[in-house]
């Protein structure tokens, strides 16, 4: 009698526990319809052990894409980049999206106003982030730094598209003139 009770208690307990196990996924009905046969994004398996999301072949441009930024990440490259100009027209629309992108990708460190006083700076995770007005920058060098990073800033080329980068450039230039006032 005592054993029987114990067994019942154990069975209920394990069933309750196993139902609430967060660490394992639930049972799938017909997994062949759930799991994709083609390669999944961020999937582990590639072709013959090589990842499938390789870099494009050198010297090629994607359809509707833009030429690769081929100025090197050197001091000479920085000087060269000064000659680049923003290919986008200065419009409200570009500026608005530039602001939206700036707030996502730049403001955490550089601050909403570009004064170098972002959240990460306030929380002392990063220090010494310059105020835009204290640096001699122009459209070409801003783009260059987004592409390659500078000092402790990393490259943001993988996160932002060509158009968005130039929109950010436009917005940063506006912030800089606002700060210099």
């Amino acid at each position: 009698m005592k054993n029987f009770k114990l067994i019942i208690a154990l069975v209920t307990l394990t069933s309750i526990i196993s139902c609430n196990d967060k660490r394992t996924p639930q049972l799938q009905y017909m997994p062949d319809m759930y799991v994709s046969i083609p390669y999944d994004v961020n999937g582990v398996n590639g072709i013959n052990g090589e990842p499938v999301n390789l870099k494009p072949v050198a010297g090629t441009i994607a359809r509707g894409g833009y030429a690769t930024y081929d100025i090197a990440d050197t001091n000479e490259g920085y000087e060269l980049a000064k000659a680049n100009v923003n290919p986008l027209e200065a419009s409200e629309e570009n500026l608005a999206n530039g602001k939206a992108m700036y707030d996502i990708y730049c403001a955490t460190c550089h601050g909403k106003k570009g004064d170098g006083n972002g959240v990460l700076s306030q929380r002392e995770k990063f220090s010494g982030i310059p105020n835009y007005k204290d640096r001699d920058i122009n459209a070409g060098t801003i783009y260059h730094v987004i592409m390659h990073g500078k000092n402790l800033m990393g490259s943001h080329a993988s996160q932002i598209t060509y158009t968005e980068r130039w929109q950010i450039v436009q917005y940063v230039e506006k912030l800089r003139t606002d700060l210099a006032k």
Binding site: M1, C19, K22, R23, T24, P25, Q26, L27, Q28, Y29, M33, Y34, V35, S36, I37, V41, N42, V44, P51, T74, N75, Y78, D103, I104, Y105, T108, V119, L120, R123, K125, F126, S127, G128, I129, P130, R135, G149, N151, L152, M153, G154, S155, H156, S158, Q159, I160, T161
Partner: protein, 434 residues
């Protein structure tokens, strides 16, 4: 009696003077020269705003560690270097060229705006470093000693108290068991008889029989369908990840936008797991967490600074980053994150349609991610859940003339001001299943 009191007093006095001497000696040794606090503060402020993006006091960063730089270089040379290092290099100064080449030609910003006094203040700060507050240190030393003793005592007392309590409970239990053992047989036979009578009564009453059968069938159906409805629904799924990444620290405390890391959500079908280069954008600099950082995992495991620093080291290993020499080794090993949200292959879902076109917050579907130490699936991600939202949400067509006419027609047809997604066809099978 009196002599004892006197003796006590004397020892107290002696001890006091002795600790005082000790503290004094300590403060003397660490503050052999008096620190000009105002100057140190001024220097620290300048250092934090101008130098700290590339230099640390105790560690190599983009440039060399600067603690005690005055002992290694002449003051005049330092001034010339800081104000305009390019000029100094151009003048053919060998030391300057050597430093420039040692740090792979990274160009230090020139600071011609700094006055000699400014530079001296900065150098002063690099020499004296952080001020450890004298009084606070002394206080800590004494209070630490006295309070350090107290817990030791308390713990022993507590431990012995627990052992005693344990023994008491054990003996009590033993007694109770003995008492129970005497009466148990009679009780169980009573229970048996009761159950037997109940069963006999049940067999005679047809109505009760039917009722019990229905009850049991209902319970069975509930358990059966309850299990079936869970098939393929992973609400609350919270797998153990290879790195104890806390969304709470990154998105909550540091307020980094979701799309900073999940940058493909705005243009593509998937929101994307960030590649390690995105981690390294910040973690190149942040190799250690703050001292009081704590991550609490679901299993009750609490990770402190020591464990979390090891987690950051895992990121370095994946990126092939040599944290001592500050360079990439080229030996990378991908992080194998465990996927949490996974829609079945037979349904099409596009992130950009929801994030960019509809302008939804990520939290609408993914829940309060910025409060999660460990990520879990917040929503059921079932079809019913999708449809519910499509039925309620009104389409915002502002600035989209392409849909203007069809919206007017549909609004007239359904007799509403603004159509919902399902009225625009968001409930048709082929929209998501094809």
């Amino acid at each position: 009696m009196k002599s004892v009191e006197l003796h006590n007093r004397l020892t107290k006095l002696l001890l006091k003077s002795f600790t005082f001497l000790l503290i004094f000696a300590f403060s003397m040794s660490s503050y052999s020269q008096d620190i000009d606090e105002a100057r140190q503060k001024e220097g620290k402020k300048l250092f934090k705003s101008l130098c700290a993006s590339c230099h640390k006091l105790d560690k190599k960063l983009i440039g060399p560690a600067l603690s005690g730089i005055e002992e290694r270089r002449e003051n005049d040379w330092l001034k010339a270097w800081i104000k305009n290092n390019a000029e100094l290099r151009a003048s053919g100064d060998r030391d300057a060229i050597a430093v420039f080449e040692e740090y792979k030609g990274s160009n230090m910003t020139a600071f011609p705006q700094l006055s000699d006094k400014n530079v001296d203040d900065i150098l002063y700060y690099t020499t004296v470093g952080e001020i450890k507050k004298k009084v606070a240190v002394a206080d800590n030393a004494t209070s630490g000693a006295s309070s350090g003793e107290a817990p030791g005592w308390l713990i022993y007392i507590l431990a012995s108290a627990i052992i005693v309590a344990f023994l008491m409970i054990a003996s009590l239990l033993k007694q109770v068991n003995e008492l129970k053992g005497n009466t148990a047989p009679g009780e169980s036979s009573n229970l048996k008889r009761d159950l037997h009578e109940l069963w006999a009564g049940l067999k005679r009453n047809t109505f009760l029989k039917v009722l019990t059968t229905i009850f049991l069938m209902l319970i069975g159906a509930y358990v059966f369908f309850g299990t079936l409805f869970k098939v393929g629904v992973d609400e609350g799924y919270q797998p153990i990840q290879p790195i104890a990444f806390s969304h709470k620290i990154h998105a909550g405390d540091n307020k980094i936008d979701c799309q900073y890391c999940h940058s493909s959500a705005k243009h593509s079908k998937t929101s994307g797991i960030p590649s390690v280069n995105v981690c390294m954008n910040c973690h190149k600099n942040i190799s250690e967490v703050a001292d009081d950082t704590v991550v609490e995992l679901e299993d009750g495991i609490v990770l402190g600074k020591e464990e979390l620093d090891l987690e950051i080291a895992k990121v370095y290993k994946a990126a092939g980053w040599d944290a001592d020499n500050l360079e990439y080794t080229g030996e990378t090993s991908p992080i194998k994150w465990v996927r949490v949200h996974n829609l079945p292959d037979f349904v099409y879902f596009n992130h950009s349609q929801h994030v960019t076109v509809a302008g939804l917050e990520c939290q609408k579907c993914h829940g309060p991610v910025e409060e999660m130490e460990e990520l879990y699936q917040h929503s059921p991600l079932t079809m019913g859940w999708c449809i519910d939202c499509h039925k309620e949400t009104k389409v915002d067509l502002k600035g989209n003339d392409y849909y203007k006419k069809i919206h007017e027609d549909l609004a007239k047809k359904y007799n509403v001001d603004q159509v919902t997604i399902s009225q625009l066809g968001g409930k048709e099978c082929g929209k998501c299943h094809y």
